[in-house]
Assembly symmetry: C2
Homo-oligomer: 157 residues x 2
Amino acid sequence: MRLTTKGRYAVTAMLDLALHGNEGPVSLADISGRQDISLSYLEQLFAKLRRNELVTSVRGPGGGYCLSRDLGDIYVAQIVDAVNEAVDATGCGGTSTCQQGEVCLTHHLWCDLSDQIHGFLSQISLANLVERREVQQVSARQDARVGDTTTLVLSQA
Amino acid sequence: MRLTTKGRYAVTAMLDLALHGNEGPVSLADISGRQDISLSYLEQLFAKLRRNELVTSVRGPGGGYCLSRDLGDIYVAQIVDAVNEAVDATGCGGTSTCQQGEVCLTHHLWCDLSDQIHGFLSQISLANLVERREVQQVSARQDARVGDTTTLVLSQA
DNA sequence: CTTATAGTTGACCAAAACAGTTGGTTATTG
DNA sequence: CAATAACCAACTGTTTTGGTCAACTATAAG
């Protein structure tokens, strides 16, 4: 499994979208400002997220991105998968041809691990993250830092 | 967490050592032949494994590498750690300075994931792997392919 | 003592992935 | 039409990956 800043950026951006997307589309410029991620890099990531139908886009002034479905129906694993396009730990990509057409010594081990990681990240939805206290705290700090107008108040939730 | 071929190679090589190391040291050339891993790459990996005290080396003719301790006391997580030297998924390395000196939105998520992966790989020892039926089968196939003289017969275990 | 073996070290290299930039174009709203 | 913001493609610099090569040192067998 590949876990680099790429996947982290994608999940962070999607979480930002979840936190601020309750009133219409959110522009990448806003996300870029709040999360310190390069705008053009975000564009690349969101192209993949859109292709994987995790977000929808609205063009023109006032446009931006929206989550394609409910907070509770988008899982971290899907986001990481979307930007990385290869999320398995086996090396042969599950084809069992690791060593000259046959499985290698540790093939099953990596299969198990893949299942483990994927299972873990598949259980965490954006809704789960939004509910977390630490996420709310960090989000509040960020909104205070940037002059924010469209904040979702979550502390009562 | 970084999980690349590097860690896979290391675990595979260590498992090979576990399977063939019952009678004296095993040369890297042997491992290279059986596991299809470049000899010079193995040298690099074993330098790190040795620095992390997972193996000991014997120089001179008939020399090679031995496991530094019992099969049951070497865990996959330690091997991956040894060659990757940074096994965490956070990006800030656990220092919580992901975003301008503060934790980023998804910091806790990556901490949890790190714990998850590490916990999983920390429970699997070389002894566990050696006991697995698939490992024994693959090993037998490899020994048949290469003209092998020092095979440990494990099928009775 | 010589010699072959095998570990040890470090320099070097090509390809890929990552992170980001530049410079556009299209579509939409006012 | 002008401003906005998504969309797109090409390109750049850096790091990691996976690997080679050459030189050197320690050791054991003969």
